[in-house]
Structures are given as structure tokens and as C-alpha cells.
């Protein structure tokens, strides 16, 4: 069976899951099965088929599992949003359409050779940084400059910027990885990169720090910097470079911690979310994290079932705030239990596995680094938000890719998927016909 047929078959469970999910929410809500659940399933299946046809025509050899895995997440997210608020689900479905358009455009534009991106690396890098600075024009949300309002659409540029930065780094490191390794010196038991090539890397670090200070978004900074370190490590195979980078990031974060109250209160809320003072603090307290954990505690092993989580009572302020964005993982754990939450994590892990597999199959350095970087950034994003929601690390608001509500996130992650599939198509074709 060829790759595209496998993909087609793999899409069937995704659609079934969606239909079953909607049916479950319906039964829960109305005590009867409405044919709307089937309509949702059919529309979603049609969208999947359209994307599948695009792939069939443009990237026949691309990895057959990536798209169905993403479809599973997307449809799962849609069901969760539908359960939270019908209107949100409708909007999210529209964003899927937009996302798939961007997906298609990316693939069509780059299908001859995605390596043309290298030519524009500085433009892309600059564009990414400008994107990040855009929200400075607006007002901060919870002390961080996360979104930019363009008319009715609120846009979170960090989502797109992460892709731009990965493209730039992959291209830059392809050029310099050799000299970074060859010129390295050992000092005090640690291998340091050569100073003259360290400059640009320090510049990247400086940019990350600057972003951290300017947009004050620890979550995105962590994601960027993590992706950067992952790429440096894969490009040079020197763990010491990663340790130096981590040390530098820690220094910067420490400095920021001292001067920015936002981050300090996040750390306090992380250390002791059940402190009554912090819990009751109006702004920057631990209410959200504590409620997230209480919500998970309700879930148990099997969960309470769709529609059973306590999120809001009447018109009162939400008991679990931001349930459709930052805390959607807490709702998943509450309603589907540990089992459901682990299943979601497993799907992400499979996507990551396919991403790294693509990187390993790729023959040229740029493609390898690009696939690695994109995959690493995706994995880190999941780690940052799920870690924050579960109190493994301090909470920083990023979206749960493909599941959280949010247009920028959906569009950016579909572009990310398109790039991965572009790398995969070339790599697998070359592997099949050397």
C-alpha cells in the first residue's frame, strides 16, 4: 500500500472519533442523539479528505501518519471546545478551514524545493522578530505582550515567529556547524565553541533574552530557546554547548525574575498554589493553577465523562478560567481522566516520533535541522503548557497545539505540519529511489 492510501485509512479512525465524541456530548446534553453530530463528523471528514487530496497530488511520498495524527488531535480539540461552548467550536472549525488554506499554500509554494527558504533566512528571521515586537504596540494581557489586535482579529505572533526562528537557525547552523565543532576549545573540562563563531549564537541568545524582556513572555522564550538549544545540540553533537546555553538562559531568567513581578508571582504560585493569600489575590495569584489541579483531581483514572467538569456556574466568574485555551488539558483530565490525558500525550509523542524520523531520513543538513527544530518546538510547546497546568513547572500561557482554541495557533501549527511534510516527502522519495 502506498503512503497516501495508508493516510486515507488512518483518517477513518479520526472521523469516527469525532462523530463518537460529538454524539457523546449530545447525549450528555440533550439526552438524545441529534443528527448534527453526524453533520459535524461529515464536514470534518470532508475537510480531511480535501487536505488528503492536496497531499496526494503534491507530496505523494510524505509521511502517511503525520496528517491523521494531527487530525485526531484537531477533532478531539473540536469536541472539547464544542462541549465548552458551541460558538467556540464553530469559530474553531472556521479556523481549521483557514489553517488548511495556509497549509495548502505553503505546500504548493514550496513543493519543488523547500530549501529555497534558506535564501530568505535573514528576511525570515527579521520578520519573525518584528512579528514578536508587534504586540508591544498594544496592551499587555496578564503582564505579557502576547497578542496584536488587527481589527476584529486578535493575533498571537509568537506562534508564527517560532517557525521563522527555527527556519533561520536551521539554515544558519547548516553553515556554521562544522566550524563550531572544529574550532572548539577545551577549558576547565568544558568544551567551548570558538569565540569568533560564538558571536552569532550569542546574538540569538541575546535576541531571546531581549524578547523575554520586551514581550515578557516566559513561555514563548522558553520554547524558542529550547528549540535553539536542541538545534545547536543536533548540529554539533556537543552537550557542553547546550549546558553553556542553559546556563546563560538561567542567568537571563534570573535577572528577569528579579525585576519583573509577573514572573516572580508565577513562580510563587507554582511553589505554593494552595496558600490562601496567593489563592485570593486578584491579579497574579495562584487561583488558576489551584483550580486546574482541583479540576484534575476530580478526573481520577477514567474521568467524569463529557460535560461533567465544573467550569462555570451561571453568569458567575469562571471556576476554572481559560478552560478553552491554557487550561484545556485540565478539562481533558477532568472529563476523560488520566487515561484520556495520557492518550492525548501519546498522540503528541507519536507526532514527535514521526517528526524526528523525518529528520533522520532527510539527507541534507538544512532539512534535517529544520525537521528537528520544528518537532522540538512542538514538543516543547506541549511540555511548557501541560507542565504548567499540572504544576510540573511554573505556568506560562502557550496554547496546546491543535487542541486549544485560537486562530494563530491553528494556522501556525498547520504551517509547521506543512513544512514537516515537505521535508518528509523529499526524504522518503530519495530513500525510495536513491
Amino acid at each position: 500500500m502506498n503512503a497516501r492510501n495508508r493516510e486515507l485509512f488512518a483518517l477513518i479512525p479520526a472521523s469516527l472519533l469525532l462523530t463518537a465524541g460529538f454524539a457523546a456530548v449530545f447525549i450528555q446534553r440533550e439526552n438524545l442523539l441529534n443528527d448534527l453530530s453526524l453533520t459535524y463528523g461529515a464536514i470534518f471528514l470532508a475537510l480531511c479528505l480535501a487536505a488528503h487530496l492536496v497531499l496526494r497530488m503534491t507530496l505523494p511520498d510524505a509521511d502517511p501518519y503525520l496528517f491523521p495524527l494531527v487530525a485526531v488531535l484537531a477533532c478531539f480539540g473540536l469536541v472539547m471546545l464544542y462541549r465548552l461552548d458551541e460558538e467556540l467550536a464553530r469559530e474553531q472549525a472556521q479556523w481549521f478551514v483557514v489553517g488548511l488554506i495556509f497549509f495548502t499554500v505553503t505546500i504548493v509554494a514550496l513543493r519543488r524545493d523547500h530549501r529555497v527558504l534558506e535564501r530568505y533566512r535573514y528576511v525570515i528571521a527579521l520578520g519573525g522578530i518584528l512579528l514578536l515586537l508587534l504586540p508591544r504596540l498594544g496592551n499587555p494581557v496578564n503582564g505579557a505582550y502576547l497578542s496584536f489586535d488587527a481589527g476584529p482579529i486578535s493575533f498571537q505572533p509568537a506562534e508564527l515567529a517560532k517557525i521563522a526562528i527555527v527556519i533561520f537557525l536551521a539554515s544558519y547552523l547548516r553553515d556554521t556547524r562544522q566550524v563550531l565543532v572544529i574550532g572548539a576549545r577545551r577549558f576547565a573540562g568544558i568544551t567551548f565553541p570558538p569565540l569568533k563563531h560564538l558571536g552569532p549564537l550569542l546574538a540569538v541568545w541575546g535576541t531571546a533574552m531581549l524578547l523575554l524582556f520586551v514581550i515578557q513572555d516566559l513561555g514563548s522564550s522558553l520554547m524558542f530557546f529550547g528549540g535553539f538549544l536542541a538545534l545547536v545540540y543536533v548540529a554539533t553533537n556537543r552537550i557542553s554547548f547546550v549546558l553553556i546555553g542553559l546556563g546563560l538562559f538561567a542567568l537571563g531568567a534570573r535577572a528577569l525574575y528579579a525585576i519583573r513581578p509577573t514572573i516572580e508571582s508565577r513562580v510563587e504560585a507554582w511553589l505554593d498554589p494552595f496558600d490562601p493569600d496567593l489563592f485570593q489575590r486578584e491579579v497574579g495569584g495562584s487561583y488558576q493553577v489551584a483550580q486546574s489541579i482541583f479540576s484534575q483531581a476530580d478526573g481520577g483514572f477514567f474521568g467524569q465523562g463529557f460535560g461533567q467538569a465544573i467550569i462555570q456556574l451561571g453568569d458567575n466568574p469562571a471556576i476554572l478560567p481559560a478552560a478553552h485555551t491554557d487550561f484545556i488539558y485540565a478539562v481533558i483530565t477532568d472529563e476523560l481522566g488520566l487515561l484520556g490525558a495520557v492518550a492525548v500525550l501519546l498522540v503528541y509523542l507519536l507526532i514527535v516520533e514521526r517528526g524526528f524520523k523525518t529528520a533522520m531520513l532527510a539527507t541534507d543538513s538544512f532539512s534535517k535541522l529544520l525537521a528537528t527544530g520544528l518537532t522540538a518546538v512542538l514538543a516543547l510547546q506541549v511540555f511548557v503548557i501541560v507542565g504548567g497546568v499540572t504544576k510540573l513547572i511554573p505556568l506560562t500561557g502557550v496554547t496546546l497545539p491543535f487542541i486549544s482554541y485560537g486562530g494563530s495557533s491553528i494556522v501556525a501549527n498547520f504551517i509547521l505540519l506543512a513544512l514537516l511534510l515537505l521535508v518528509s516527502d523529499r526524504a522518503r522519495r530519495e530513500a525510495a529511489h536513491p
Binding site: 483531581a297 451561571g314 506541549v382 507542565g387
Partner: protein
Amino acid sequence: MNAPILKLFGLVLVLFAALVGMTSYNSVINAEEYRDNALNKRPQIEQAQIKRGVIRARDGSLLARSVKDEDGLYQRRYSARARRFSHVLGYDYALGIGRAGLERERNAALVGEKDEVTSIVDDLSGERRVGDNVVTNLDPRAQQVALNALDGRRGSVVALEPATGKVRVMASTPGFDPNALRRPANYSRLSQAPNSPLFNRATQAGYAPGSTMKVVTAAAALDSGEFTPQSTVSGKSPIIVSGVPLKNFSDRQFGAIPLTTALTNSVNTVWAQVAQRLGRNRMAQYMERFGFGSDPPMDYPDAQMFASGVYDLRRNALIPASSRRVDIGRVAIGQERLRVTPLQMAMVAATVANGGVRMAPHITSRIVDTDGRVVERIEPKASERVMSAESAGQLTQMMSDVVREGTGTAAALEGIEVAGKTGTAELNIARRINQPWFVGFAPRSAPKVAIAVTLENVIGGQGGVVAAPIAKQVMQELLR
């Protein structure tokens, strides 16, 4: 570059394992603790989504029910009749000020908490969880009689069924309207009000018992075999007890008189000598048998019950009656630092009435599901044999003399023989501030009701004059 990519994947696996670990900890391993966290209102919200059972009086009249509000949560509503029972019933505003009284004690039944297997079966069969109903032993008419008789004064009346321990009347004044507490502002106002309307005087107030304590002393004297009702003791006044002179009421002088006479006339000096002869250990032993020193074994929240006994008033801590620091001669006549609840004194009377066996008092009669099936019936439970039936019989005879010809004649009922004992604790002799008491039971031969009545700070009020008539009215109603 493939080797570092593999290692990177390894790192991702480790990070995701940490996520799985943390999710397991939150949702399963430590879930119970998080559910019990005081900041976590989810369990209360869940319970508010269940139709809470109703609470009924003994005659079936409705006291508390639940109605659904606009948020889909059930809110407690109390009937007009419930106002009579404000303290004993308590309230359920779990999302506001909390729960109290029987509402708190019987919460599990009222929200229909089932064992694990039943609830899983219900879940699977789609059965909607509803709370069970609670039927109490409380008698609305007798309760109203008690409230009318207290007539707005601060005080309490407790009436028990001696053979079973059923709580028939538990009045505490002033009371409150449980419906008003739905607004937390009302709660904070009432909780700071000077006459403490939220305080259940029947179970929480520690009062000086005065001469009603002589019933306990007499039980110890008779049952230990050291005394009989005919044993004579000198009733001269004053005598020196623990280095301080002790007088009889009005400094009245008695010669060598039998114990029966000493109880009828409430002779302080006789009972102080009796206790001194019995010794502190034996007195302590009988007090403990009567239930002093611990919260009564009643279906009521421990937080709302006071353990009767001798208190170190500065540290607000119980001192064993056997302690050398305790003046046992004065404890015997209800002085010293003895503090008792009306419920405790009703238990003393009920124990004598029940032939010496103390029964656990209970407010709840039965728990009934929505289909009317009895889920649980609260059976009478003996706590302890305090004294022999013979001693109890002798004491009953002595207590009937009190009502027939002694200080308690105001409690006498027409055609029904009443046994009892009055008490007047003098709180401030100069200003004549007293705490009048009456404890007793009726009918003497086959007691159906045991009662304790007390009032706070009555100027010049005597137990036989102020408290005994209230007891009479309530007993009359309960024996109708």
C-alpha cells in the same frame, strides 16, 4: 546527526514521562487530598447539584427542603416550622457560610452518598443521584410549648425519651431564621450579636448546674453502697469545706437528717459531706459514667457540643474531677468550676428514669429513601449502666419527694407523679443574678420523658419558681 536526534527524542520521552507522572499525581495518586483541600469548593458544588433530601419532624411535617436556583444548583429552604428548631436543625449553605447542626451531621445521607458498588451501578444505569430524607424525633408542638415558656429569655429546654434516648425537644433561645443565613452578611451580623443567637445553648453552653448536681452525688452515694436514703448526716451550717465556710440556702440549720430529707430540702452541707466521704475518685467515676468529661454521643457535630465537667477557666480546659486541685465537696452541690450543658443534665435525669442505664441521645429517627423505603433506622443504644436498678429506684423515690413536698412542687402534674430536682446557681450574690434549673422526669413509675430546663441570668430567680413551671408545661404536652 542522527545520533543526537535520537538522544533528543530520548529527552522528549523523559519530559513526557514527567508530564504523565504529574498528571497521575494530580488526578489519581493525590486526588483525595486535593478534593479535601479547604480552598476546593468542587465537592460542595457537586453536592449542590444533587437534590438534597428533606428533613421532617416526628409528626411528618416538613422542616427543610431543596429548590433549584437559576444556576441549576439546589438551595436549601426552611419551612416556618423549622424556625422553632433553628439550632438543632442547623443549616446547609455549603457554598456560602458552611453547614451546621443536623444538616452537617447527616450530610452524607442527605446527599445520598452510597457505597462504591452501588454508586457505580447507579452511574451505569444512568440513575440520577438524589439525597435520602431524614426523619427526626423532634416534636414541633412540645418544642413550641418550650419556646413559649422560655418567652424570649435566654435559656434552653431539652427533653429526652428515657428508654430510647430520642430527643423530643431541644430548644435554645434566642434562635434565628435559618433562611436568613443564605446571605453571608446576615451570618456575620448574627455571629457577632451580643446575645449569641447562633449558639446552641442546649449543647454548647457550659452553665453552673447548682443543686441539680446533687442527683449525681446522690447516685454515687447510693450505688456505691456507702449510703442509703435513710443514712443520716448532720445538716448544720456553716461547715468548713476545703478551708472555706459553706452555708446552706438562707443559712438554714438542720440536725442529723436522712439523705431523702436532705435532697427534698436541697441541704448543701449534707451533700458536700457525702461527697467528701465518698472521695474524689468515686465522685469522678460516677460523673464519668453519667457522661461528664466527653461530648454526648449524640448525632450532632462535635464542633457544636461541649463536654460537661470541671474546667480550668483560664485555659478553658477540662480538669479531671479526681484532681487534687478540685474541691469535690463543692462539685457535689454544683459549685466550684463545674460547667454543664442542659443536654448533659437531661441525660442525668433520663438515666435515673431508665433504671440506671444511660441511653445515647439521638435526634434522627430514620433515614428514608425517596421511595419511602427505610435506609437506616436509628435504634436505641445503651451507652453505659451508671447505677443499679435498685439505686435508681431509690433515687427516683427521693426525687419524687422533691416535687411532692420539696423545692420542686411547681413541676407537679395533675394525676401524674413527677420526679425532679431544682437548682439555683448563684452567679453574682450581690446583684442576685442566678441561673435557675430544673431536671426531672415523668411519669414516675414508667417514665416517658426526662427534661432539663435552665435560664441565664435571672435576677433573684429560683429553679423551683422559674424553671420548674416551664418543665411542667413541656412534660404536660409530651405526655398528652
